[in-house]
Amino acid sequence: MNTSEREMFAIQGAARIGEAANSVGWEVFGDALEQKLMLVLNAIDRVSAQAPGPVLIDEVIPGFDLVVAKPRVSNVVGIEAAVIDPRALTPIDPRNLELLAEAVRAAFEGNGGAGVFESADGTHYVVFPTARRDEALASMGISPSGVDYSSSSQLH
């Protein structure tokens, strides 16, 4: 993603969390949340750039998986680190992502599959319910035995 695409998603994500959280001090909280989400989106791109193929981020939001897929002939070699805005250093309870998950869950009701975003550089981002992972992976050309687990699951 480029910066303006990240901004679009960060602003929306923060807005959804804010709507659901109904918290006090939105002026500060909202900005911090947006910067934090920008950072997380940048992190996802930096991590995905390390893989030779697509990357599955399992349950990035509770109940939903994200796949980042680059086109085979891609001009994306590596993603620069984002300059960390000080507002992004406000610790945000990761459980706030549950609130975002509610919004995503509601959007997926009655939707027969996945949500896809095509970035300007050709990278495709696919969101789908974790419960339908095998089906989603199969439609992307991956069998259930084709998943290589990184040691990242040991990081928490």
Binding site: P52, V55, V60, L89, I92, D93, S150, S151, L155
Partner: protein, 302 residues
């Protein structure tokens, strides 16, 4: 929601966002499959690297630059490790090297028999351009190997894949990714030979697939003019514009059909598509005229 009224201008976007949010388009898994094949997003080895979402989400709770950068570096390193992973013990490892690099068809056939249970060796064999038809048929006919996406994709793209092997794959496989690979392979082989080859016939067969991605890959390899005429007659710019474009680009399409495609008038709604088809047809006609002027037959400039 009382808080939502607080001042900063960026909050306004909340009201504009649709259900899935601006940017995300809802798609069925079938559409997702077509998108992945058309844009070459699917992994040729059929594999995906998995990263823990929780490890990513934990960044939300971090409050120092060091903690955040360190987490991101750890995640990146974990993914790089997967990419570099060497899971083979040395004996099988050496066999994989031989399977990858040997040019002796009989040696490769022998290895296919010996190492049929060693998946990594079989995967390397599938991609070796020196395997003969017997070896190819082992890879296709074995029940387990037939279900291994990486092996079947390796075979589909293998320049040594025989027409008999291709037909076997077409008969047995319902994997749209593999069939697209076979279609591309057959089209390339058809275009590389001057006679009315078996590959051209395979392309004709695949051009009847219900899957548009497979049809598109196959049409350029068709050499039978009457088949191309039929495709042009049975399709329209409304239903299958890209099929028509592919027909317009094939030098074996009869000249009168090309002329029709070059001058077809379509309503303004479809004008961009009809321009693409017409341009392609004109270019093909120009090339054919040029080639015949300097003494070449149609199709031999591919």
């Amino acid at each position: 929601m009382t808080n939502s009224a607080s001042g900063a201008p960026m909050r306004d976007i909340r009201s504009a966002a649709s259900d899935l949010g601006t940017g995300f388009k809802p798609v069925s898994f079938a559409d997702l499959s077509a998108t992945f094949r058309e844009h070459n997003l699917y992994p040729t080895n059929g594999r995906i690297t998995s990263v823990s979402g929780k490890a990513v989400a934990d960044i939300m709770g971090m409050h120092t630059v060091v903690a955040i950068e360190s987490r991101i570096n750890d995640l990146a390193a974990a993914v790089r490790d997967v990419a570099n992973r060497d899971v083979l013990n040395s004996v099988v490892g050496e066999s994989v090297v031989i399977a990858k690099t040997s040019r002796k068809a009989h040696e490769l056939f022998y290895m296919a028999g010996m190492f049929i249970n060693h998946r990594e060796v079989m995967r390397a064999l599938a991609k070796n351009p020196n395997i003969d038809e017997r070896t190819q048929l082992i890879l296709i006919n074995d029940v387990e190997l037939g279900m291994d996406r990486e092996i079947q994709m390796g075979l589909a793209h293998n320049p040594a894949l025989s027409d008999t092997s291709m037909m076997k794959i077409i008969d047995e496989s319902d994997d749209q990714f593999v069939l697209k690979g076979v279609a591309m392979n057959a089209a390339f082989r058809s275009q590389s030979t001057h006679d009315d080859s078996a590959y051209a016939k395979i392309c004709t067969l695949l051009s009847t697939s219900p899957d548009p991605v497979i049809r598109l890959a196959a049409i350029p390899g068709i050499k039978d003019s009457s088949v191309l005429r039929e495709i042009a007659a049975n399709n329209s710019l409304y239903l299958a514009p890209r099929d028509l474009e592919a027909v317009a680009g094939n030098a074996h399409t009869p000249d009168d059909v090309l002329e029709q495609l070059a001058t077809k008038n379509f309503p303004a709604l479809q004008s961009i598509l009809s321009i693409q088809v017409a341009d392609r047809a004109r270019l093909t006609l120009a090339n054919k005229t040029h080639q015949s002027e300097i003494g070449y037959e149609a199709g031999s400039f591919y």
